[in-house]
């Protein structure tokens, strides 16, 4: 007798390591086939929470329910979840085939069936032909794929992923994000994903739980988390921002949307390509002739305290928050104080 919508439920989970309280009375439920991300800075308790679901840690207080049944005291090897570990944790004394077949062999599955399933998994993670390779002879990205295959081959109800892409370079990480998401949708498995990378969380998740200090600050779909942060922490962690490409021709000057803006950032290479971040509330709507940019209002949404306007200016669609409403179609000028223009190195945008 359990709520179909709640495959896994955490009830009042607290966890202490010695004197430090890592989790404080956390409640959370995960729906079937959901991609849920636990997002937060390091030390926020997200990994501990995943380990409690996996059975590697026991909560100091609270209960873990799986399909409505209490599994708090069930050891990891009897849980219907599998984990992709942060540093892969492949068995270095086995080859790729034996790594992936590990769980199936324990279930005493027939040899042919094992070979068939391992083969299909290798296909899924694009690693055909690697059966005989030793686990420690693979690159980080390949080890990652094997770790995912090793977990997925057991057809778990739930797959737990602990910052699985953390050790990969930016480009590989972006590709793997999309691949993981595609796999999750194809296989219809529930994913619980831990990351500190907000962009990663926004890209992949159905639901994001933003954590800090052992608490869940906000839980919701990515759009909601992004647009309506509940408190200063979430707002800061998942900033609402205009992010656009720019170039730094010299110190304190940035070129974006076809125009030069004074700013207060220094120490970039000459003509370095950067990402420019401007918060929607930091853009002032002024008369068309006095603005730094001239633009057209494309849409207006009332948000309570302010209006959110999408204003097309300099080839870029700016998200602008203002208490004064400009009607759709009106010609306006935009102005940004140098202090409010944030320049970031290109790589830095990933959230690292």
């Amino acid at each position: 007798m359990y709520d179909e919508m709640r495959l896994i439920e955490l009830k009042g989970i607290s966890k202490n390591f010695g004197d430090t309280q890592v989790l404080r009375n956390v409640d959370l439920y995960i729906r079937k086939k959901e991609f849920l991300t636990l997002l937060g800075p390091s030390g926020c308790g997200k990994t501990t929470m995943l380990r409690i679901i996996g059975g590697f840690e026991f909560p100091t207080e609270g209960k873990v329910l799986f399909e409505g049944k209490d599994i708090t005291d069930v050891p990891p090897y009897r849980r219907r979840v599998n984990t992709v570990f942060q540093k892969y944790a492949l068995f270095t004394h086995m080859n790729v085939f034996d790594n992936i077949a590990f769980g199936l062999k324990l279930k005493k599955m027939g040899k042919q069936e094992i070979a068939r399933r391992v083969g299909r998994m290798l296909e899924l993670v694009n690693m055909e032909g690697y059966e005989k390779r030793w686990a420690d002879s693979l690159s980080g990205g390949q080890q990652q794929r094997i770790a995912i295959a090793r977990a997925l081959v057991n057809e778990p109800e739930v797959l737990l992923l602990d910052e699985p892409l953390g050790a990969l370079d930016l480009k590989l990480r972006k590709n793997m994000q999309l691949e993981l998401k595609a796999m999750q949708q194809e296989l219809g498995i529930t994913f619980i994903y831990v990351t500190h990378d907000q962009e990663e969380a926004l890209t992949m998740s159905d639901t994001i739980a933003v954590m800090s200090g052992g608490r869940i600050h906000q839980i919701g779909d990515p759009k909601k988390i992004y647009d309506e942060p509940k408190n200063a922490f979430v707002a800061d962690f998942i900033g609402e921002s205009n992010i656009l490409p720019g170039v730094m021709p010299e110190d304190d000057v940035v070129e974006m949307a076809g125009q030069k803006f004074p700013c207060v950032d220094e120490g970039f290479d000459k003509n370095e390509e950067v990402d420019v971040v401007v918060r929607p509330e930091d853009i002032m709507v002024v008369g068309q002739d006095v603005g730094m940019l001239a633009g057209t209002v494309e849409s207006v949404i009332f948000k309570g305290v302010h209006y959110e306007m999408m204003i097309l200016a300099g080839g870029y669609r700016w998200k602008v928050h203002s208490t004064a409403m400009q009607p759709v179609g009106s010609e306006v000028g935009l102005s940004i104080v140098p202090f409010n223009i944030h320049i970031m190195h290109r790589e830095a945008v990933s959230g690292k």
């Binding site: 990891p76 979840v81 599998n82 570990f85 540093k87 068995f91 270095t92 090793r150 977990a151 057991n154």
Partner: protein, 271 residues
């Protein structure tokens, strides 16, 4: 300046104290008392009862290695699960015997085992009665285990300490119960440590001589005692050298065998 230059002191050392002595041993081993080339000593060894002494030494060394492994492996596993900085006493207790001179340790063992020693006093107190323990093969084995046990524990401990704890968790995660985790993951991954430990224990054990003398009292005469006897008492350097070379072959063969189990020699040396 080439880096190999710095190796010269050791090369000289090797030549003077390893290569030359080995050549001498080989020379004496293949000659008779007159200095003429001879295989008589080899024939003598394999036809006389001395072969039995070699088997006894090998058997005792194997027993000692086996006991060390059975006692040392769980101890190493236990220690590997502990934080060294928080359990200093535990580690000191394991290492303490190594810091003491081995003769001292063996004499201490002798005192404990003798007829009116500590252990017999205890046996009497609980009503079992005194037992003859000193000067038995068991006493020699006990003394060997006592001396060589740390050499089994340390390499296995080091190997286990290097093991990623997440690998064990991964096995559990994939459905392995504690016994399966041990058989399929922990044990195979600690093989390099086991091989290293076996090597560190078997080699000194098979050449043991003082322990057998002090605790075996001449009842358990080992190949090491025989070599010592040949050189120190009987002054038969030729026969002593022959036996030394045969022992060397036994050791080389055992190392070669262990190499097969751990081809990469991942266990390294003692540490």
């Amino acid at each position: 300046m080439k880096r190999s230059f710095f190796a010269w002191p050791y090369v000289v050392w090797m030549i003077v104290f390893t290569v030359l002595p080995l050549l001498f041993v080989a020379y004496y081993g293949f000659t008779d008392a007159t200095g003429a080339l001879s295989l008589d000593n080899w024939r003598e060894f394999f036809t006389s009862g001395d072969l039995k002494t070699l088997w006894l030494s090998v058997r005792l060394a194997l027993e000692c290695t086996a006991v060390c492994l059975v006692v040392g492996y769980p101890a190493a596993a236990f220690l590997a699960g502990k934080d060294m900085s928080r359990h200093k006493t535990l580690f000191v207790l394991i290492l303490l015997p190594m810091w003491m001179n081995f003769l001292l340790r063996t004499y201490a063992m002798r005192t404990m085992l003798q007829d009116n020693g500590l252990i017999n006093a205890f046996f009497e107190a609980i009503g079992i009665g005194r037992k003859q323990m000193l000067y038995t093969e068991g006493a020699v084995l006990l003394g060997m285990v006592y001396n060589y046990l740390p050499f089994m524990i340390l390499p296995i401990y080091t190997c286990m300490k290097k093991m990623d704890r997440r690998v064990v968790e991964a096995a559990e995660d994939l459905g392995a119960n504690p016994l399966q985790v041990f058989c399929k993951v922990s044990l195979p991954l600690s093989v390099p440590g086991i091989v290293s430990g076996i090597t560190m224990v078997f080699m000194p054990a098979v050449t043991t001589f003082a322990i057998s003398k002090l605790l075996g009292g001449g009842m358990t005469f080992l190949i090491g005692d025989m070599i010592e006897n040949m050189f120190m008492t009987l002054k038969n350097w030729q026969y002593g050298s022959t036996i030394s070379m045969i022992l060397l072959v036994v050791i080389i063969a055992s190392v070669a065998l262990l190499r097969k189990v751990d081809p990469d020699n991942q266990g390294g040396g003692l540490w």
